[in-house]
Each structure stands twice: as C-alpha cells, then as structure tokens.
C-alpha cells in the first residue's frame, strides 16, 4: 500500500502517489479556490501534509478520500482567511480547458458553469464539486467533508435549488441582452427551462 510505503520512508512511493492523484487533487483545489496561483500553493501544501500525516492514516478509508480531506481542510482555511472566494476575471484565471485552440463558445460555457459553481456557498460547493467532478457518492462525500450523510443530502438538494435559480436568472439576462439563440444554447449547455 502506498501510504504504508510512505510511512516507511520509501521515496519511490512519492512518485507513484503524486502521479496517480495529482490531476484530481489539483482540479479539486482550483474549483474550490478559483485562483490558479493560490491553488498551486495549496497543492504543494497538501502534498507536504500528506507526508506529515501519513503516520496517522489508519487505512480504513480510500487514499483519495484522505487526500481530498487534506486538500479540503487547506481550502477551507484559505477561504476563511480570505473571507470569501476571489472572483477572478476570465483572462487572469488561467485556461479553463486543456484542449489547444479551444472553441470560444466552449470557453463561454465553461465560464458560465465556473461562475455558477463559485457563487455557491462553500459548504454546498464542496458537495457539488466532489459529486460531479470526482464522482463520489454521498457516503464518501460525508466522510471527506466530515459531516453526517443526511447533511450531505440536504446540502446537495439546496445547492441544486440554488443552481436552478441562478440558471433562470442567467437565461433571462441573456434574453434581455439579445444574445443570439445558438450562442445562448451553447453557453447554457444542456440545462432545461
């Protein structure tokens, strides 16, 4: 087991664990703090904490759950320190998609979704990000965010309700601004009215 090897001081385990989980952990942090530079610092700090707390990992949870727990605690501390999530202009936030020469419509759509996720209260955002981007079920989310299973369900339903409202508002705004229908549908993706 990777953590057991880390505990025994095996440097080779570092390569393996980082390569295996780097994308997931980084994407999670970026989605939580919405600022690439901060996310890079938190990414580094997360992995250092992995080394420091490897002795305390009992092994009854998945490694990914444990990693997300560490990253989430750091994100929470950061958000608490900053006071709220920083809203970064699109051109300063770094690329939203990995594909080179990306379709500008896709960029718009990505930006809409990102804004909606970032406008959610932190506790709801945690649940939404873990569920939709990291495919966790409610029990895993409860373990990661450290709250009862029922609370996760409540937060999820509230988040969806809030997202629906935001979606309606955005759709109305686009209509008022007379954005062409094909751009509207591209930006708003598969959401229903």
């Amino acid at each position: 087991m990777l953590v057991e090897r880390l505990r025994q001081g095996d440097a080779g385990a570092i390569e393996e664990i980082v390569e295996k989980y780097k994308r997931q952990v980084f994407a999670f942090i970026v989605r939580m703090v919405n600022e690439r530079e901060t996310a890079e610092d938190l990414f580094q700090e997360t992995w250092l904490r992995v080394i420091r707390s490897a002795r305390g990992f009992r092994g009854d949870a998945k490694i990914s759950t444990w990693l997300f727990q560490i990253a989430l605690n750091l994100c929470r501390d950061h958000i608490r320190k900053v006071g709220k999530t920083v809203m970064v202009p699109l051109d300063e936030a770094g690329p939203l998609t990995c594909e080179p020469g990306v379709d500008p419509i896709k960029m718009l759509q990505a930006n809409e979704v990102r804004n909606m996720v970032n406008e959610l209260p932190v506790k709801m955002r945690e649940v939404v990000v873990l569920r939709f981007y990291h495919d966790m079920d409610d029990r895993e989310i409860a373990e990661t965010v450290g709250c009862p299973y029922g609370t996760v369900k409540t937060r999820y339903h509230r988040a969806i309700k809030l997202l629906s409202k935001k979606w309606d508002i955005r759709t109305r705004e686009m209509r008022r601004e007379k954005v062409p229908r094909h751009v509207q549908s591209a930006c708003l993706g598969s959401g229903k009215e």
């Binding site: 980082v18 580094q44 250092l48 305390g56 969806i160 997202l163």
Partner: protein, 126 residues
C-alpha cells in the same frame, strides 16, 4: 425550470475543465516531499531522545529524595522531638509515592504513544 437529472448536471459541469498541474510545479512538490520525508525519518531518534531526558529527570528527582531521606531526614529525626517522627516518616512516604506516580505516568505515556502501532493512533489525521 424542470428538474435536472444527475447526468444532465454532470454533462453541464464537465464544460468546466481544469488543466494542470504544470510539470515544474509537480517536480518542485515531489522534491519538497522527499526533503520532508527525509526530515521525518531523521526526526524519530530525536523524539526518543526527549523521552530519555524525561526519564533522566525523574531519576534525578529520586536521587534527591534519597539524599533528603538519608541526610536531612536523619538529621531532623535526631534533632526534632520524638512526636515529630511520625510526620517525618509520612513526608518520606509521600515523596516516594509521588515519584512512583511520576514514573508510572511516564511509562504509560511512552507505551501508549511510542510503542503502539502507528495505524492504531487516531483515524484520518490531517
């Protein structure tokens, strides 16, 4: 608005992709992790050394108590009136009992924190 299904929401959310982390960041992180791991491996004997100091401290305290019993205690036993002998004897018993408690407490701490397997210490410590 109609209710969204999980799949529809997932498809919608996946429009927001995140790139990275960049290779230099990953390499830097790995280097820092290796340094931290090396530091942690070296740190273990230092921790044990701390416990040695505690045990030495307790041994010193016991030596002082013996010194008290054999010199000051003996002198006082001779100098003080016979009715004080009982108080003097009790004070020595109290000192000895306090030291036994200290030694037992230290040993228990060592057993429960140092000798217990790491995986039994707490659940997910972050």
């Amino acid at each position: 608005m109609e209710k969204w299904s999980d799949d529809e929401l997932r498809a919608l959310f996946h429009a927001y992709e995140v790139c990275g982390p960049d290779d230099p960041l990953v390499e830097r992180t790995k280097r820092l992790m290796k340094e931290e791991l090396a530091r942690q491996t070296v740190a273990v004997p230092v921790r044990l050394h701390g416990w040695m100091v505690v045990l030495l401290g307790i041994a010193l305290l016991m030596a002082l108590n013996l010194f008290y019993a054999m010199t000051v205690g003996t002198f006082l036993r001779l100098a003080l009136p016979p009715e004080w002998t009982q108080i003097l004897t009790s004070s020595m018993f109290i000192c000895a009992a306090a030291e036994i408690c200290l030694v037992a407490g230290t040993l228990m701490i060592i057993v429960f924190t140092q000798l217990r397997p790491a995986y039994e210490r707490g659940r997910l410590s972050t």
